[in-house]
């Protein structure tokens, strides 16, 4: 799985974002992380080809059984969807 690493001054938490490049809520999630200088890694699953797409989407379903986007892992917690309050809470923003 090829993740894009986004550097940031706020590296208190390990943040992994599973997204779709075309999705508005995924974009909002990236903007929320970026504007708070959060360090994270992400993958746009719709940009993945055949085997990788299957591999990544089963990983997403493992974390979030509905397999919906965005799926955000913050340390050991999983947030399904753009839930700004919950993301802020977990990231202590």
């Amino acid at each position: 799985m090829k993740f894009t690493h986004v550097p940031g001054r706020n590296a208190k938490h390990r943040v992994t974002l599973y997204a779709l490049s075309t999705c508005g809520w995924c974009r909002k999630t990236k903007e929320l992380l970026d504007s708070n200088q959060v360090q994270y890694e992400y993958i746009d699953v719709d940009q993945c080809q055949a085997e990788e797409r299957t591999e990544v989407s089963s990983k997403v379903r493992e974390l979030n059984p509905r397999g919906s986007f965005p799926t955000i892992r913050i340390d050991g917690e999983v947030v399904a969807g753009y839930d700004e309050d919950r993301i802020r809470e977990l990231l202590e923003l």
């Binding site: 809520w25 089963s58 839930d83």
Partner: protein
């Protein structure tokens, strides 16, 4: 959010057409224009990738008959706008949502899990069985699976006059 973000003429033209059609049909596009233009850009990208307007917030299966329920406007739009004030990707919203009386953010996925990628097992939205009509109909009745529009004619219309969904998204209702 970048104020410098540029969109192609095709995206802007599509936005204007969808906005007009939405308002004529009693729907509302999301008034956050940048958010909406990005979604439309995603729809056009999906048109190029898959040949149809798969929802920008759902991972396409890549085969039209397996994604037919999530081609925009999707079968879940009206119920989601009614319940949450916005459809799944928030391209279509309600006045209540615009006024801030509904929470803005992701909503639960209404699409049945069995239609999702890799969990797919049958054709989406099988027609419900209906009681036989007491009298034979002079014409079949067709139902638009997107908005519920009904019409009695030999064949479904080429395009739904209310929501503009294509002919292949009609089902025989009676």
């Amino acid at each position: 959010m970048s104020t410098e973000e540029r969109f192609s003429d095709e995206v802007i033209k599509t936005y204007e057409r969808l906005k007009k059609e939405a308002e004529e049909g009693g729907y509302r596009l999301n008034p956050d224009k940048t958010f909406t233009l990005r979604l439309i850009q995603g729809l056009l990208e999906n048109e190029n990738r898959y040949g149809y307007w798969c929802c920008p917030c759902r991972l396409a299966f890549g085969e039209k008959d397996k994604d037919v329920d999530v081609i925009c406007p999707c079968y879940y739009r009206d119920s989601d706008v009614e319940e949450f004030g916005a459809c799944y990707c928030a391209l279509y919203v309600s006045d209540e949502w615009i006024a801030g009386r509904k929470k803005h953010g992701s909503i639960p996925e209404r699409r049945p899990a069995k239609f999702m990628r890799d969990g797919f097992s049958e054709t989406p939205a099988p027609p419900q069985s209906l009681a036989p009509s007491p009298q034979p109909l002079s014409l079949p009745v067709w139902r638009c699976k997107v908005c519920g529009y009904l019409c009695a004619r030999p064949e479904p219309p080429g395009k739904c006059p209310v929501c503009k969904a294509g002919k292949d998204r009609f089902e025989r209702f009676m």
